[in-house]
Symmetry: C3
Subunit: 144 residues, 3 copies
């Protein structure tokens, strides 16, 4: 564990900022911009889905449908991602990142609740000075 | 996004530690010390307030009243700030920081609840080796 | 505050990754590996315990009993540690780390709840390129 930490330590805060920006786009309804944080051939897999969503266009379409449903219902969602563990990926230009993610849901005029507790495994790849998600796997704790 | 990340990346963990210390002061009832993490002319704006609170003295007075009310009620609050995104500010000595913040509330002998889910936009300015809040805007999700 | 931040700033993300890995071991039921993130003579003190648990073997035994109970009940726990504040420790090879920690609990097929809100004070010591907990004190907010 220690060696890999040392190897990637300079990247840790870069990854944290990437996630902060990525989730803010989703929660703010900027679905097209959010989808562009995945590679063109990016995959979004989840134990809440019957099969993985493949490709940026499909990922965007899925998020758009969810965002419109939330807008109709007057519920604000916030994705909190934390407990980030960064390791070298399968090649020099990629990272394997494990994290926990919570979804907070607040109805207009109501109290926030923890909508879902999940764990997340990402395969991130370099994109210029930034990062893109090539593969994401989200596991909801209630479905395990 | 990527360029700005690169530009400020060395500051990211500094900002995280600043927030950890700032919130710990507030949650621990060290109201005067907490108020000193704002500039003398600091502004605290929130959609839960009729108008912004202006100046460190007024910010301290507001926090003190809230802390005394909490102490009477036997409820412990914890401010969790996360999903931090750091960008250069309007000048060389400032940062613009977006974050999410949760308020957890635990009554003595009872269960914790998420009291509020918010987003926060700070204008931070250099103060020696540290930082001060010059302007904070907190938006509660339930009031949007 | 500022000076100490400057002194330890390079270690901040290292400590964050250490906690992410440590909590993931515990939440994943890897109790023996988790216990090895404490020193052989490590101490785990908590206001929820009648007295501190002393030594890695006793720490492991305690965690194993808790993990088995959780497995039987079908509840998935996630330890979120955040609001990390890193300061130099009592000697050159140690750190004093204050943090907040939440325990999320999700029953199979059910909704997550915040099981506990706590604060944590750790004494971390160097172990090669990594860290070990020499002393941990966890304070549950509901028991204060």
């Amino acid at each position: 564990m220690s060696a890999s930490v040392a190897a990637v330590t300079g990247l840790y805060q870069e990854v944290q900022q990437f996630y902060a920006d990525q989730m803010r786009l989703l929660d703010g309804g900027a679905v097209a911009e959010w989808a562009r944080t995945f590679t063109e051939d990016g995959v979004f897999a989840a134990n809440a889905l019957p099969e993985p969503i493949r490709g940026r266009a499909a990922i965007e379409a899925g998020a758009r449908a969810a965002a419109e449903e939330l807008a109709r219902s007057g519920v604000r969602r916030r994705h909190w991602l934390g407990m980030v563990s960064v390791r070298p990926g399968t090649d020099d230009a990629s990272l394997s990142v494990h994290s926990y993610a919570l979804v907070l849901a607040t109805p207009r005029g109501g109290k926030p609740t923890v909508h879902a507790s999940t764990s997340c495994v990402d395969d991130l790849v370099r994109d210029g000075a930034g990062w893109l998600v090539r593969h994401r796997r989200v596991t909801r704790d209630d479905l395990v």
